[in-house]
Amino acid sequence: MTETSAPTSALVVEEQETRPGFIGTSVPRKEDRRLVQGEGVFFDDVKRHGMGFVHFVRSPYAHAKIVSVDVARALELKDVYGTLTGDEVAILTDPFFEMSVPPGSEIKDYALAVGKTRFVGEPVAAVVAATRELARDAAELVEVEYEPLEPLVDARRAQEPDAPILHEDAGSNLVWEGVFDWGDWDSCVAAADHVVRIKELHFDRFSSTPLECSGCLVEFNRGTGQWTMHCNHQMPGIGAIWMAPALRVGTDKLRFVTQDIGGAFGNKICLHPYFVACCLLARKLNRPVQWTEWRTDQHTANAHGNERWFEDTEVAVKADGTLLGFKTSAIDDCGAFPRYEPLGCIIWAQVTPGCYRWQNVHVDFTQVATNKSPVSPNRGYSRMQHLWFTERVIDIVANELGLDPVAVRKRNYVKADEFPWTTPNGCVYDSGDYARCLDIALELVEHERIDERRRDAESRGKLLGVGIGSTLDSGTNNFGQSQLLNPDLQFSGNNEVATVKLDIFGEVVVTLGTVPQGQGHETTAAQVVADALGISPDEVTVRPGHDTYWNSHAGFSGTYASQFAVTGLGAVKGAVDQLAGEIRTIAAAVLGGVPEDAVVLEGGFAKLRDNPEAAIPFMGIGAIVNANNAILPEEIRHVTLNCRYVYVPPFEVPDKERKYGNLTLTYASQIHVCVLEVDPETGAYEIVDYAAVDDCGNRIHPQIVEGQVHGATAQALGAATHETFTYDEQGNLLTPNFYDYHVPHALDMPPLKTGYIESPSPFTSLGAKGMGEGGGAGIHAVCAALQDALRPVGNPIVYDSCNPPHRVWELISNPEESRGRVAVESR
């Protein structure tokens, strides 16, 4: 079942078989009507009587002792309601829970800086006033005396004896370290014909920068001691786990309410320090407080993607291009506080060998703290860095050994008939056909004409290059992987909840445990429910957003890690199948005590299969159970028509000693091909052709799937060409907003050609796979295309994930520098 489509011409390779019902069709999105009319409700749209506006006083230093904080002048200003300082926070709250083992676990992280500040923009105090402007005026009157300390900006220096220490409690800048050793590295080196050595590769800092920044409106109920947060937190479950103990209350005291969220991409998971500060202020001032993060705040002090260095990589290769294994030392920079980390130190292992069959892998992994913004999960979280690395390895090996990158990939890809495929560390790739996806992508960019296009580009003074990125989007976490970092963490498996009920007038109402941010959960959930009940999605109400007090949810509820199609819809399917059963039960009794399997659900009626005239509308069934149950026989009066289902994927606890086990349930693949032209005089380049081929198993809503592919590709291209959080040696962020942090706009984006195949997952109820994060395939496709284009001008090595024009020009003007990073030892 394959189809590929380009904006211009749609080329059909095979006819897609059509499934009955709404699943697999692109029904209109339920979310759209309110959003196109400006009637969505985002957190900043919510107002309360007498609310005060919060403005944070932020550190101008990357690393400094806080000598004193004086709020007196701020409080003198008219209509200033109050303030909060680090000293108060240290008394009123406990440090946030840390996931790491020592030394990382010794790090003390509070809502506001206590004693010292560790990154530019770190909140040091907060002011609340009657207007947004006034709050900022007052914040400027807060006098903070700092004693600047030497900042640590380069993660590679973190463990040098003379490096400044961020967290004295931890004793060093080390957050977590571990050795991952699978297969047999030594014997695979012995068996190799070539060992390719790569001195250093660097994956840059950037983030998805959701267009809506973070924030919340917090109300405190003095009577019940409960906080309500109208906010855009994308993972309330973990938010509560962090916040409640810090605030010394039970998690039920924290009510998270979201409706529409303006994108999150993982960047809205680590909001707990800000939210705790707002909770304290709401309680202290006895009034609702509202905090809106501005763009510059978000860039300087909220959520960056993990920056990672790969040092002294060795790759064992056979003469024919068969890859035997690799060895590397990874240094991961998590910024000033770990927060969601060190999970990133294991998440990458979900895709240890990338798309490839290599069996011997040795990774020394170290994560350190630096005086930069803390990181947080970011679309493609931790796997993207590792997949970029594996792809770089493939192309550098091909380049140095004079092999064809396409041939090397096809030789080493996991083959279609080898699924389910077990990786060296025990992960099970469910299904796929990477080579076929690559063929489709190459066909979309007319790869057979590439030499002709190269010559044409040359005639115009340009250098043309073509590059491939093949990545995986591993969906549905086994949280047992956290135990590979910290054996004492009592996390494992995964779960998600949904409820489906039939109300008194026959309305079908669905609630989800998830927290959607544009993925169309209302729509796809309605498709699943409609098919199970024989009605149309228009007749299904799915409550938008998330409210901890009305949406049933479980420990791992949320929208993250490409899993809704599996966990979210798995829960919806379970709940609606239960409801369908209960409807049959009632109908069978009311329609004369026939067996339940004689009843079919169709067009809003429960009918007898053999006698469709005998039918009862859902409204009737809803009315009987909700308001007229005395007419029901005793044995079915337990029926509630209000069904809750918890989907639990089949996971086991991984083997902690060997760091071995299945870490994710599904693996969607992305094979991208990029064709670009470089202007050798300026290093500027233009993507002239681009194809993205996706395989996420059965597609519930093809349009939504394709939209996710477009979006993930755009973010990858931004990260490859411009987006980077660069710091100077004092630890000042040099790209603190959209002035200098350039994200792609409509003219920057090349025309995207997309294609797909469907390899149903054998492990999920709908044959669907999680998708949407993508694997950052585009980042590598651009790097590889640049390396290909620059071959005629000194054959430099592309060693960084982000290559703006000046870096390309540096590669051209000094190819020796990057050439010096690679060496081949042939036996």
Binding site: P60, Y61, Q730, Y739
Partner: protein, 164 residues
């Protein structure tokens, strides 16, 4: 960021040295200076409203003389706190005579943090260079005036950024 350069004054070295060590005169070289106070002969501070064309940047600046070897070498530390920016500067100058002229070699290491960075690093470097050259032009004026004063000529009004 580091900036450095040389200036020649057609006055004796002693005159230049005195200007550089006279807080009152030095004050007049600070762009947009509004007030100036001397704590002791090593420490003094000023408030200044530095004109930036599009608006002005209010700053409290504290100076500390860190080293001096009369009459040829001195080094200064300056820390400025403003709403939009935090500035810190390490500067040193070396004087030498050549005939009737005085040659000054100066170096400054300036770092600026705070929201001003958010308006684009691209302009910071030129702005710093610009302010430095304003300071030097103002210094030149002060030196000329001191020379005139020594020769009993009337004082000129204190310079400001517009005519610097």
């Amino acid at each position: 960021m580091k900036v450095a350069g040389d200036r020649t004054f057609d006055v004796p070295q002693q005159t230049v040295w005195e200007v550089l060590n006279d807080p009152a005169r030095l004050a007049k070289t600070i762009p947009g200076v509004e007030s100036f106070e001397v704590e002791d002969e090593r420490h003094w501070h000023a408030t200044s409203n530095i004109p930036l064309g599009l608006g002005s940047l209010k700053m409290r600046i504290r100076f500390e003389k860190t080293e001096e070897r009369p009459p040829e070498y001195a080094s200064l530390k300056a820390k400025g706190d403003g709403v939009g920016a935090i500035m810190s500067m390490q500067t040193q100058f070396q004087l030498s005579s050549s005939g009737s002229e005085t040659l000054m070699h100066w170096e400054a290491d300036v770092s600026i943090a705070g929201p001003v960075g958010s308006m684009g690093q691209r302009v910071l470097q030129p702005i710093v260079r610009q302010q430095v050259s304003n300071v030097l032009d103002a210094l030149d004026k002060q030196v000329q005036e001191a020379a005139r004063a020594d020769s009993g000529a009337p004082e000129q009004p204190a310079p400001s950024i517009e005519d610097a």
